[in-house]
């Protein structure tokens, strides 16, 4: 714990409006579950603005084919919520992430905001689900896709307030991750898939991969390969397309070739889970 970090003040607003007012001061940063901030050596000179206890940011609502998830919703809360099939991948990612004592506090907004966290589990799920983030500041709010938010980050004074996820009829989704020893460690590869089905034919698909590269992202060719047949028929072509499409990274957890090798198999498992409803 550096001296700098120890002296950093933590402001505790009681409403989102107050949080935005505090964030308009220079040098401030958002503090949610703190699991990432506490491992970061840097500290914002203006202090943190704690938002995890704000009720307005903790809501999960579903109506009119749209799921809304507040940015301070924890992984534990997502994992125990019965989400519609179209958004099931998000609950599965939350349940598989880390372990109970982290899931208790870690938030969906924090997972997205930790842009250097390549292994963030909720991000590929949100990307595959076409989630749109709403970002507020003193000047109002704007909406942008999660992948773009990961790319550019929040500007000073901005706060992610919630994510909206379309849940049309006929859409299903699933998520799986692979770890070296199993259990609570970071994934070496994670895959989230969302498909629209007519009967058993895939009419559109989104495949997102996490942990394999520096940023989770959509894999367009793998998704294209799924369209036009059944999940079973199209799985081998989609896996081949995914493997060809990746530029995997090497780190202490796994070499790039390994991530590439297993990604196709992991996609196969996710597709099989979508086909049978079973979680392997």
């Amino acid at each position: 714990m550096t001296e700098r970090m120890i002296e950093t003040p933590v402001h505790r607003p009681t409403s989102t409006a107050e949080a935005l007012a505090l964030l308009s001061a220079p040098g401030t940063e958002v503090l949610a579950g703190a699991t990432w901030a506490m491992r970061d050596d840097g500290a914002p000179p203006g202090g943190y603005v704690a938002i995890a206890s704000l009720d307005e940011l903790q809501r999960i609502t579903h109506s009119d084919g749209e799921l809304t998830v507040g940015s301070a919703v924890t992984h534990a809360s997502l994992a125990r919520t019965d989400l519609p099939a179209a958004a099931a991948a998000l609950a599965q990612a939350a349940a598989a992430s880390a372990f109970t004592a982290i899931r208790t506090v870690a938030t969906v907004g924090g997972n997205v905001a930790a842009r250097s966290f390549a292994e963030a589990d909720l991000v590929p799920a949100l990307i595959a689900l076409d989630a749109i983030a709403t970002v507020a500041s003193g000047d109002g709010e704007h909406r942008l896709p999660v992948a773009r938010l990961r790319e550019h980050g929040c500007a000073p004074g901005e706060l992610i307030t919630h994510f909206t996820i379309p849940t049309p009829a006929g859409r299903r989704s699933a998520f799986q991750r692979l770890t070296i020893r199993g259990g609570a460690e970071y994934a070496v590869v994670s895959v989230a898939v969302s498909v629209d089905l007519e009967g058993s034919t895939v009419t559109s698909a989104r495949v997102a991969i996490g942990a394999a590269e520096a940023q989770p992202r959509l894999c367009a060719r793998a998704a294209e390969a799924l369209v036009g047949g059944t999940l079973g028929e199209r799985a081998p072509a989609a896996a081949a397309a995914l493997v060809a499409e990746l530029s995997p990274r090497t780190d202490h957890a796994a070499p790039g070739w390994y991530r590439r090798e297993v990604s196709g198999h992991l996609l196969g498992r996710v597709l099989s889970q979508l086909r049978t409803g079973a979680n392997h």
Binding site: T2, I6, V10, L31, T35, M38, A43, T104, V105, G183
Partner: protein, 224 residues
């Protein structure tokens, strides 16, 4: 900042910098040394405590967020003059306590589980313990559904030998006149876990602090 929180049923007032880990306040300001500093990055689970009934890793929990909350530590599982909790008794009975470094974290993870569901199945027990990957005390015992015995991926030989000269009394684990032997607490936890090289200054100094506190260990081990 000035804070007020409930710790093991007692209201305590604390003054500490806002981003101080709850673990540090528990150990340094409140002298509750049950929760252990292991990896200091939320991986080993040795510092697990409950806040408002939910398990958290206290090394990653800023004290500012604990203001007004109810914290429960291993010291709060049994009254100082009362019998130990059934869970503690079960761990002792099945020789599930060795050096004691991982035991408080395991007890708190399982307490949260059993408070929520008195008869969890094997999958729930495994999930509840996923955050306590360092658990030599439980060795490779199989899981018996409905009983408080847990599986463990580590075998005893995975532990790094540390002179077992220190005998530490863990208050709540006291049984009759005897004490639970401890071979160096967190020192063992940190080394046995094979946690990635501790390059940061704070982690090195944390190891030194732990070493100083550990009677019988002359100096801190050098880590790459």
């Amino acid at each position: 900042m000035d804070l007020s929180l409930t710790v093991n049923g007692r209201i305590v007032e604390v003054t500490a910098p806002a981003m101080t880990p709850l673990l540090e306040v528990l150990r340094e300001s409140l002298s509750l040394r049950g929760a252990k500093p292991g990896c200091n990055e939320g991986r080993c689970g040795a510092c697990t405590v409950l806040i408002d009934g939910e398990p958290i890793v206290s090394c990653l929990y800023p004290i500012a967020l604990a203001d007004g909350g109810a914290v429960r530590t291993v010291e709060g599982l049994a009254a100082p003059d009362g019998p130990i909790a059934p869970l503690q008794d079960a761990l002792l009975e099945h020789a599930g306590v060795q050096c004691g470094a991982c035991t408080p974290g395991i007890l708190m993870s399982l307490t949260a589980l059993f408070d929520r569901d008195p008869a969890p199945d094997e999958a729930q027990i495994r999930d509840a313990l996923a955050g306590n990957p360092f658990r030599p005390a439980l060795q490779s015992r199989p899981v018996f559904p409905g009983q408080q015995r847990m599986g463990c991926p580590f075998r005893f030989r995975d532990l790094v030998a540390v002179p077992a000269t220190a005998v530490t009394s863990f208050g709540p684990l006291r049984r009759g006149a005897g004490t639970v032997r401890c071979c160096g607490g967190s020192l063992v936890a940190t080394r046995a876990m094979g946690v990635a090289a501790a390059t940061s200054r704070e982690r090195r100094s944390s190891t030194r602090r732990i070493a100083r506190r550990t009677a019988g260990v002359a100096s801190a081990p050098r880590r790459a």
